[in-house]
């Protein structure tokens, strides 16, 4: 097979080669920039410049230069904004571009040839590669197996069905990354499913996650199931909501959104060093070198933690903390000071002003990472109690409204589309009255889960009220939002809910509004609400979009 050492050597040679060519590439970028006319828009010239920067974004990290990719990506984003306007950059923008150029030059100059460990560190974590979305159902009752397959597929899972054990065993040899739903009893063997799993687990270093489905609930069977690596044991009839809960916890290996850290330090060399250390640990980092420039990145980046230097010209770290703490949205943000200061009195004084902790420079990269991580985690946990709805784990009413304000502001600034939707379960009171509140809660949970799974990670879902949900879809126009939500509506109406051994279905109505027609958060919200009202009146179980309001002055016509 492949000789790993030889491979590393080849990769290293390629990295060296790439690094050697970087100054020349940078020169080309600089020339492309200098050749652009100042007084008019040059589509082709700008396109070329953009493509060259883009190519650095797309290649740097592959050769072990992660920082290069990141700096180029920021630069590229900025160029894209200018390209959308199609106007020759003004003096301010030219200044910005020159700053990006010099950052790029700095990174290129600092580019040492990366060693092998750096190349390996750049590899994505295991869970990003093997994202498990596949479920094997092993069940000898074909009707029940089909039902499971259909229901699970509504939640976005790929499902393979096996009617007998030998067929399943063969398939398992090719799939390391599945969740197994295993019937316990097979024809001729009361514990056939459990025995088969025990055999498979013996051959594995990492046990296969398996959930047993059983016709009987007996302790000895449960014990055997646990011994076969069973994570859950569900007796028939199976409550689909319950089953999905279990599967969700097993498959939630999706990489979490990275923690956002804002570094405020006037030394550019240090900020880029800290940024690199934290980024290597999987965090998203934004840096500010002049504390007076902190507001824009603060509001736009919405950091989870701020790392600030104590001594900075213009505004020292303690003053900075005081200012930040006076902003409503940042009352609870952890602020950690980094300083060469080891005077305890001064440290305590800083803490009184709103700093949460002091880290003394020079700090070991590992210490920096673990200090930052533990503070961010704790603060997010606390914040989640404040902003999350306890039944569904979705954002609560206040949190989703705050988020809408921010998203609308951002969409307007960037000129990107944005849609807002209100979703309301139809005749929910009847569900509660007929089957009781616990069943109603399950219906709410199943819709919240469906929304979370079917929308993109960047979309935001909140529980707006009892059976009402709010969805923010950034970068999405109204028509697309309607299409996506209508598909979810269709699938939700197909879901079967279980109550007292009986099945029933529920539907929802939905109103959508597009930010291009309603330009502030309040108007957008009202419009979505009106559209929802129309959907209800048009017979429920449908998605409606609110058109733009009539242009004022129309009454003169």
């Amino acid at each position: 097979m492949v000789d790993p050492a030889g491979l590393q050597a080849k990769l290293k040679a390629m990295s060296d080669d790439y690094a050697a060519k970087l100054p020349e590439k940078l020169g080309q970028i600089e020339r492309a920039w200098e050749q652009l006319p100042e007084d008019r828009w040059d589509d082709e010239g700008f396109e070329t410049l953009h493509r060259m920067v883009h190519s650095l974004t797309g290649s740097g990290k592959t050769f072990g230069f992660a920082l290069l990719s990141d700096v180029a990506r920021n630069f590229e984003e900025y160029l894209k904004q200018i390209m959308q306007a199609r106007a020759a950059p003004d003096e301010d923008q030219r200044k910005h571009i020159r700053i990006f150029m010099s950052e790029l030059r700095q990174v290129v100059m600092q580019t040492k040839v990366p060693n092998q460990t750096e190349l390996i560190v750049a590899a994505p974590r295991a869970n990003e590669v093997a994202r498990c979305n596949c479920i094997f159902v092993v069940e000898d009752d074909p009707d029940f197996a089909e039902l499971l397959k259909v229901q699970l597929s509504y939640f976005g899972y790929e499902v393979g069905v096996f009617g007998d054990l030998p067929e399943f065993r063969r398939a398992m040899q090719f799939r390391p990354d599945v969740v197994v739903l295993m019937d316990v009893t097979f024809p001729g063997s009361k514990l056939g499913g459990i025995e088969a799993m025990k055999e498979i687990q013996r051959e594995r270093n990492v046990p296969v996650p398996v959930i047993f489905l059983a016709a009987h609930d007996e302790f000895p069977m449960r014990l055997e199931a646990v011994r076969a690596g069973g994570i859950a044991y569900l007796s028939k009839p199976i409550n689909i909501g319950n089953l999905i809960d279990h599967i969700d916890t097993l498959t939630s290996t999706l990489p979490p959104v990275p923690y956002r850290i804002l570094i405020v330090d006037n030394s550019e060399a240090l900020t880029s060093y800290y940024a690199a250390v934290l980024e290597q640990a999987g965090m998203a980092v934004r840096t500010v070198n002049n504390p007076l420039d902190v507001m824009a990145p603060l509001l736009e980046f919405m950091p989870d933690l701020i790392l600030a230097d104590v001594y900075m010209p213009g505004c020292n770290g303690m003053e900075l903390a005081k200012v930040i703490r006076q902003l409503d949205a940042f009352v609870s943000i952890p602020i950690v000071f980094l300083s060469a200061e080891d005077d305890l009195d001064k440290q305590l004084f800083a803490m009184g002003l709103g700093a949460d902790d002091f880290l003394t420079k020079p700090i070991q990269p590992q210490h920096l990472v673990s200090s930052v991580l533990s503070r961010v985690r704790r603060s997010l946990k606390l914040r989640s109690f404040m902003v999350r709805d306890s039944l569904t784990g979705l954002l609560n009413h206040t949190a989703i409204k705050d988020q809408l304000d921010r998203e609308v502001a951002q969409a307007k600034r960037r000129g990107t589309p944005l849609s807002f939707a209100m979703v309301d379960i139809d005749h929910f009171k009847q569900v509660n009255d007929t089957y009781g509140h616990p069943v109603g809660d399950r219906v709410i949970k199943s819709l919240s889960r469906l929304l979370k799974q079917r929308l993109r990670e960047m979309d935001m879902v909140g529980r707006y009220g009892g059976e009402e949900f709010a969805v923010i879809m950034s970068n999405t126009d109204g028509a697309t939002a309607v299409k996506v939500l209508d598909a979810i509506r269709e699938d939700f109406s197909q879901l079967r809910h279980l109550a007292d051994g009986k099945e029933f279905a529920a539907t929802f109505s939905c109103g959508v509004a597009d930010v291009s027609c309603f330009c502030d958060a309040t108007k957008l919200c009202d419009a979505a609400d009106k559209a929802l009202y129309r959907a209800k009146h048009a017979g429920r179980n449908q998605v409606m979009q609110m058109d733009a309001p009539a242009v004022s002055g129309a009454n003169f016509v």
Binding site: K10, G58, R456
Partner: protein
Amino acid sequence: MTDKLTRILYVEDEPDIQTVARLALETLGGFTVEICSSGNEALARAPAFDPQLILLDVMMPVMDGPTTLGKLRELPQFAFTPVVFMTAKVQPGEVAGYKDISAVDVIPKPFDPMTLSGQVQAIWDRCHG
């Protein structure tokens, strides 16, 4: 069982990326890789090479990835060949857009040479699972 993935066509204009991708896919993945530097070259050479899977860079001069995909799809031979976009633009919305025009998946750039062939194999398995 379905066919084993062996022949991959990679369309990419950057010589550096071409080399490292060849190493990753041939040495590490054991695939046979044909590399084309432009959409036009791909259209000319794909029929004879008869790839089972095509990797397409999105941003290329003259003819970009999506256009190349459109032209490939016009050839009956490639009407259903799985095509994967390689791009540094990984806005989720854009990914959905690429899938709308019949790409089976998107591999974000910069890719990791050590795991590229695994990603490609996983996509192939998913298409033929």
